[in-house]
């Protein structure tokens, strides 16, 4: 046995001293991992079983050998899943884009510009962070309805744009850029807007990307507001779509087709998550909350 093997073994041994403890730890972790992953496995598995074979299994099988995509075809043909999908993409892109614009501009104003009343406004913004959405949603509902914007993208998007928390997050990040850079740019005659665009945004790209991803997730999963403001299927987002499918789609019992729809709307976010999981987790731990 080589020396390196011996050392490895010794290091392992000193870890193994708490074998019982380590086992308990891993049992707990694996158990929870199964609880987390199982629903995903189950939706995927069920979506690949044919309608007939699913219903013939009194005790459902944990695997299937006869894969079928009939459920996916059904999901896209029997209900307007593609429409829900494109609605959600449009909603997500425009909302996130608008939000970013609003957030960057105001974060810049708060962090770099000097003007009367700045601190007062900022304090006001911060205190608004504590106001729960449920309190303002009622009036927004009335406002949008009165403006005739029910069942329209404008009605979906406009109230979803504001995100004070992201203004706060970005302002903090902007402030970490040394003041000297700004002064130097001023001396060189750089305009504020150019400075923001050419210096601050590139430097703060990590935070901006994090904010973007978090907002995309939020938009993709939006349910409450879209449900209130749309009752025309042509404007449903995926969340409402899935709820409609649950209530009436496919006839009540075509569970494999339902699962296919669930897989389809879950996949985009899971892909984004797998690519950006470090960024997302870091962003969330810096102060995001659920919902």
């Amino acid at each position: 046995m080589s020396e390196i093997e011996q050392i490895r073994q010794l290091e392992r041994k000193s870890k193994m001293r708490n074998a019982v403890w380590t086992t308990a730890v891993f049992v707990l972790l694996i158990l929870w991992a199964i609880i987390v992953l199982f629903p995903f496995y189950w939706m995927l598995l069920t979506s690949l079983k044919s309608y007939g074979s699913y219903n013939s299994e009194y005790v459902p099988k944990f695997y299937t050998l006869s894969l079928t995509i009939e459920n996916y075809i059904k999901a896209f043909t029997a209900v307007p899943l593609a429409r829900y999908f494109s609605n959600t993409i449009i909603f997500t892109l425009i909302t996130t884009g608008l939000m970013m614009l609003v957030v960057v501009l105001s974060a810049f104003a708060f962090s770099r510009l000097e003007f009367k009343g700045k601190n007062l406004v900022f304090t006001l913004f911060l205190s608004l962070m504590m106001i729960p959405n449920e309190l303002v949603v009622i009036t927004n509902f009335v406002t949008i309805t009165n403006a005739g914007l029910r069942n329209s993208f404008a009605g979906l998007i406009l109230p979803s744009v504001t995100s004070i928390f992201y203004i706060y997050l970005l302002k903090e990040n902007f402030e970490q850029i040394p003041e000297e850079l700004y002064k130097a740019a001023k001396v060189d005659g750089t305009s504020d807007f150019k400075y923001l665009w050419k210096v601050m945004i590139p430097i703060c790209r990590p935070t901006i990307v994090t904010v973007l991803i978090l907002k995309v997730i939020e938009c993709w999963n939006a349910y409450v507001w879209p449900r209130l403001i749309t009752d025309d299927e042509n404007y449903f987002l995926v969340s409402n779509g899935i709820q409609t499918i649950r209530e009436s789609g496919f006839g009540r019992e075509n569970i494999p087709a339902m699962m296919a729809a669930v897989v389809v709307i879950s996949v985009p976010l899971i892909i984004i998550f797998l690519i950006f999981h470090k960024k997302i987790m870091e962003g969330v731990s810096r102060g995001g909350t659920k919902g």
Binding site: E3, I4, I7, R8, L10, E11, S14
Partner: protein, 363 residues
């Protein structure tokens, strides 16, 4: 309590390369006598802290044994070794008061060892008095200065009256003035308690000033162990010579020819060995300006810092630094002809090292 290390070795798998072995401690085999203050000295990453962790039991050796007195503690967990440890950042529990911090180790005791509440308080007070923080008992750590925190950490380590006290870089987080004070404190506390104390440092001056014994390490290997002055005066190799002393020793490329040691054409000493290339180390305080002295340098300037005057000059054979630095008495007269200055040298401050393995060449 005396500490015996017997062929103590600690090897790691490298964190960067899974197929590489890092030997943090290589075959340490020596005895630390009872009741002394020992400075474990070496550059960063040389394995000092690992040695300390092995002694206190936070790490287990790859091979070799550790004895406290006659007791083999190699496989004992830290809590059964009876050691007190002070970490570099003190690791005071920030949510507990000074009193609660000091009481903490006592409250861990169970069964027959457990003291009554009053006895605990008394011991805690005793430890606090020893380190002179008995007036700060109700404060939280963040309300204390760095030096005070350090003393609380020492009190916490001492409260169980350990057989061995270990200090990891105890002074590195303090500013220069506090450092002087605190090291005297450590010295005093050690003398008063008589507990065998080992402290780790990369600062040679710190180690030299208060230790009874110093141990010089480099890359996991013990270089030299002895009383500070002894090690300073008689370094076993070039590394030890260069590591100890401030300003650092001047090192020159030299050679031995006919039992005489030359730097360039200047004869600076004698060594009874065969002809070879050598490194010559000359302590700054070895230089005596002397018109007839054998050693010649190009004079640059004189720097006076308080009591010392240093002559800064150049020598093409010097390899340690651009400047050759000589410390002389302030009233010394300078001979300076055509920019050349001559020195005679105190022979016991001139060390000759073999080029091959950098070990010292005596006589």
């Amino acid at each position: 309590m005396k500490i015996v290390l017997e062929h103590l070795t600690k090897k790691f798998i490298s964190r960067h390369n899974k197929n590489e072995i890092v030997t943090a401690v290589n075959d340490f085999d020596f005895e630390i006598p009872d009741g002394k203050l020992i400075g474990l000295l070496g550059p960063s990453g040389c394995g000092k802290s690992t040695t300390l962790n092995l002694i206190c039991g936070l790490e287990t050796p790859t091979s070799g044994k550790i004895y406290f007195g006659d007791l083999d503690v190699t496989n004992l967990p830290p809590e059964n070794r009876g050691v007190g440890m002070v970490f570099q950042n003190y690791a005071l529990y920030p949510h507990l008061s000074v009193r609660a911090n000091i009481l903490f180790p006592l409250e861990n005791l169970k069964g027959a060892d457990r003291l009554s509440k009053e006895a605990m308080e008394e011991k805690a007070m005793e430890a606090a008095k020893l380190v002179q923080i008995d007036e700060l008992m109700e404060r939280k750590p963040n309300e204390l200065s760095g030096g005070q925190q350090q003393r609380v950490a020492i009190a916490r380590a001492l409260v169980k009256t350990p057989g061995v006290l270990l200090l990891d870089e105890p002074l590195s987080n303090l500013d220069a003035r506090l450092r002087l004070q605190t090291r005297e404190q450590i010295r005093r506390i050690q003398k008063e308690t008589g507990i065998t104390t080992i402290f780790v440092t990369h600062d040679q001056e710190e180690a030299m000033s208060i230790s009874d014994l110093i141990i010089v390490m480099k890359a996991g290997i013990l270089q030299q162990m002895g009383q500070p002055q002894e090690v300073y005066n008689d370094p076993v190799n070039l590394f030890v010579a260069q590591f100890l002393g401030n300003p650092a020793i001047n090192v020159f490329d030299g050679s031995v020819r006919d039992h005489k040691v030359y730097i360039g054409e200047d004869c600076v000493g004698e060594r009874n060995v065969e002809d070879q290339e050598v490194s010559v180390g000359i302590r700054p305080e070895a230089f005596i300006p002397d018109e007839k002295g054998p050693f010649r340098c190009v004079f640059d300037r004189v720097e006076t810092t308080g009591r010392d005057t240093s002559i800064v000059c150049h020598n093409e054979h010097c390899v340690s630094d651009e400047d050759v630095r000589a410390i002389v008495a302030a009233d010394e007269k300078l001979n300076n002809k055509d920019g050349i200055i001559r020195f005679s040298l105190k022979p016991y401050k001139v060390h000759v090292f073999s080029k091959k393995d950098e070990t010292v060449i005596h006589e």
